[in-house]
């Protein structure tokens, strides 16, 4: 029935929405930033445990649509063990992929995150996918204020 939406709602997204990974409050977090899109109501808090410039652990809490939940869940999996620079590089690539400016974007280079490429065709939903990453960007820059992509 929802054939047209197969690119947007891939099974991996449903899976992460049903069972978000790293979904917990981190009491000893070094960085903690809130991402909040008041218009749609997506809200998350991102926690990072740092070891020098290495992201040792990442977790989140919050509620939102399937796209934003899957995006933050996937992100916390992928950034663990990455350096700040590597994570920033991924953010850049993710941003390029979701905003769809580069038609020849190499989906293989972004690995698992490619499941979110479908939002390119849904301009109203790009902000859902990118909220997690903008929040991460703020956390890495050690900013405290709440982040929004609306």
């Amino acid at each position: 029935m929802f054939d047209d939406l197969r690119d947007l709602y891939q099974e991996v997204i449903f899976d992460h929405n049903r069972n978000p990974r790293n979904f917990r409050v981190m009491d000893n977090a070094d960085r903690k930033v809130e991402g909040f899109n008041p218009l749609c109501g997506d809200r998350l808090t991102l926690f990072l445990k740092m070891n020098g410039d290495l992201i040792e652990e990442a977790s989140f809490q919050g509620s939102g649509c399937a796209i934003s939940t899957a995006s933050v869940s996937l992100m916390t999996e992928i950034i663990q063990g990455k350096t700040e620079a590597e994570a920033e590089e991924l953010f850049k690539k993710f941003h390029e992929m979701t905003t769809g400016k580069d038609e020849h974007f190499n989906l293989e280079a972004i690995g698992k995150l490619a499941v979110l490429a479908g939002v390119r065709e849904y301009p109203a939903r790009v902000k859902c996918a990118t909220l997690a990453w903008h929040t991460l960007d703020a956390a890495l820059k050690n900013e405290q204020q709440s982040i929004s992509t609306e």
Partner: protein, 407 residues
Amino acid sequence: MTGFDVNKIRQDFPILGEKIRNKPLVYLDNAATCHKPQTVIDSIVHLYSHDYANVHRGVHTLSVRSTDLFESARTKVKDFINANSDKEIIFVKGATEAINLVAQTYGKANIQSGDEIIITAMEHHSNIVPWQMLCEQTGAILKVVPISLQGELIYEEFEKLLNDKTKLVSVVHMSNALGTINPVKQIIAAAHARNIPVLLDGAQAIPHMTVDMQELDCDFYVFSGHKLYGPTGVGVLYGKQALLEAMPPYQGGGDMIRKVTFTETEYNSLPYKFEAGTPDISGVIALGAAIDYLTAIGMDNIAAYEAELLSYATEKALAIKGLRIIGEAQHKGAILSFVLDKIHPHDIGTMLDSLGIAIRAGHHCAMPVMDFYQVPATARASFAMYNTKAEIDVLMNGITSLIEVFG
């Protein structure tokens, strides 16, 4: 219902023939804005093709024609809401501007530090923020009547809030987020017993029921044209003549003056005193065409048909496991707000859109209502006279299927 034929009505709305994502459009976002019948569209084309010029000034033929059409639309609005006089009908941009106008003219002239303004917990932002701004400017205090879990105003709490400091009551006639129709006659009577004027935000109510100024006896009534099958950019402020006469003007400019020198300006009489600058001429005339269209069908017929639609939709919705209706007032207009277990309204909105179904997902410009129900947003299907039970079936099948897909 005498002669109400939804299939015939649908023929009058060209957009209802559109295909969305290769499927027939099922348009259920009428509380945000509704579609226009051909006569409304034609009235704009006809005006610009044959009768258009600026109003209220030229002596030439087109200006006279344009002015006649413009002023006859004012009379149509007056008759439609049963006001006493054309002087009580002020054309503005929409309901939002009408409320701002009252806040910044009547409000500033009559409300002082320590005075109180009463609204309810189910207001649209447009009936919250203008009063907050006035409170900030004057030192007045905003009081909010709470609502019950069913989405009904708690009337006893309203009565408790009324006191000698209350200077204005501003209440939504029908809630856009919940569908609740408020007991406005009771509210007006209680306020009037203390000589407190009442403004009704009629943006949602007016397309769904007969609205009669003599019967309601409210002091101000506001609505937008685009929710009444008319165009965007035009709305109406109704005010009792004596109140409007005593109010200072809103904006200064052309049309609202009688005589201007550099030392002194004499303001124009009602309703022009509040209509500075060239108005939305085609918008007003097209709103008149929308009113002609609705009058021919009959607002009571529309109300009866929509009540049938709402009860059909409610019954179907309650049968869906995991669906919770937000707003279950006894007295309700054709709005069905709902949430689904573990499925965010924006996912609902995107998935239904892929089936050609347009609903609203979000906070409906009523964030305090969302906070009250502790939901980030709701999905909302809102019905108009051109919707059908078959369309409600398409919606409900869509909801059932998306619940399956989400698992």
